[in-house]
Point group: C2
Chain length 156, copies 2
DNA sequence: CCGTGATAGTCAAGCTTCGTGACTAATTTG
DNA sequence: CAAATTAGTCACGAAGCTTGACTATCACGG
């Protein structure tokens, strides 16, 4: 399945970039003792506080439905990355708390992503990479509000 | 589902950007007479030549499995975006050929994406946006070859 | 104090997308 | 002309997400 043309548009381009980062992250994690974490688990692990976080809070931070967070936490409990603890302030709620294994995954994932960025920085030069990243953040913030600009651009 | 923190890493950041572009593209297409095209259809429509393209070729260009391309073409035939024509040079092969409706979708999609980029360009300034896009292409090309750099980065 | 409405988490069913392996027909190779 | 390749399809299953409904608990106003 090999050839792959230059990406036709910005959407596909960023999709390809994202997939490439994901591939490196999860294959490297697999080599470092975490072969069972998958991208979707990031919706929990990437947003987890050291002292535990509620599922609803994780849902809001990640933008995923509560239902999804529930099943992800099920899997992560199974894999011994987190535990469910009762929340002392609210008997309905449960805190999702990372285990030692979970904390290890989190710090390794951050290290791998930092290494990726460091590589890009070295290839680009520090200032050019920094401004690229700033532009990406700004453009993302801009694009997320596209509905506000609806009539702004006249059509054809 | 509301709050959404600042994206924790580059992977998620680009993912958010891609999703935002996709949302604008397909909602706008829906308003312009194409309510049934979905993102996956892009693997065919975005890579289609005006005079037709083989499924295998589409598979290589898009990076999707032949099986996937087959089902996408099934759907697009159903929706009258393309037809399957026999390939005169090879009786095994069929050419996927866009209909007038298909060509309309393709040109509208390109126009919408161009409008998005124009908006970003206006917000950023032409030169800064151009260099951003060039950096994104370069960094994507770089990241796709991450396996080559494996031992390069010593690990803590 | 109590009832009404909101909130936390879960259960269940269904849909979309993708991956994998096997198979037929036609072509290319030697 | 036999053997290996290639184009397209069929069948099955696994992930991931969406939606709606339901139980237990909390918060607020009367």
């Amino acid at each position: 399945m090999g050839d792959d043309r230059p990406e036709p548009d910005v959407g596909m381009l960023t999709g390809t970039f994202m997939r490439a980062v994901q591939d490196e992250l999860f294959e490297t994690l697999a080599e470092q003792g975490h072969p069972d974490v998958r991208p979707r688990h990031g919706s929990v692990l990437a947003f987890l506080d050291r002292d535990g976080t509620r599922a609803t809070e994780l849902s809001q931070r990640s933008g995923q439905h509560k239902q999804i967070i529930g099943t992800i936490v099920d899997e992560l409990v199974q894999l011994a990355y987190v535990t469910r603890e009762p929340d002392p302030r609210d008997r309905r709620a449960k805190l999702v708390v990372p285990t030692a294994h979970g904390l290890d995954e989190i710090s390794r994932a951050r290290a791998i992503l930092a290494a990726i960025e460091r590589r890009h920085e070295q290839a680009f030069g520090a200032e050019e990479y920094t401004s690229f990243k700033a532009a990406l953040q700004r453009i993302t913030r801009l694009q997320r509000q596209w509905r506000d600009h609806r009539g702004t651009q006249p059509r054809e």
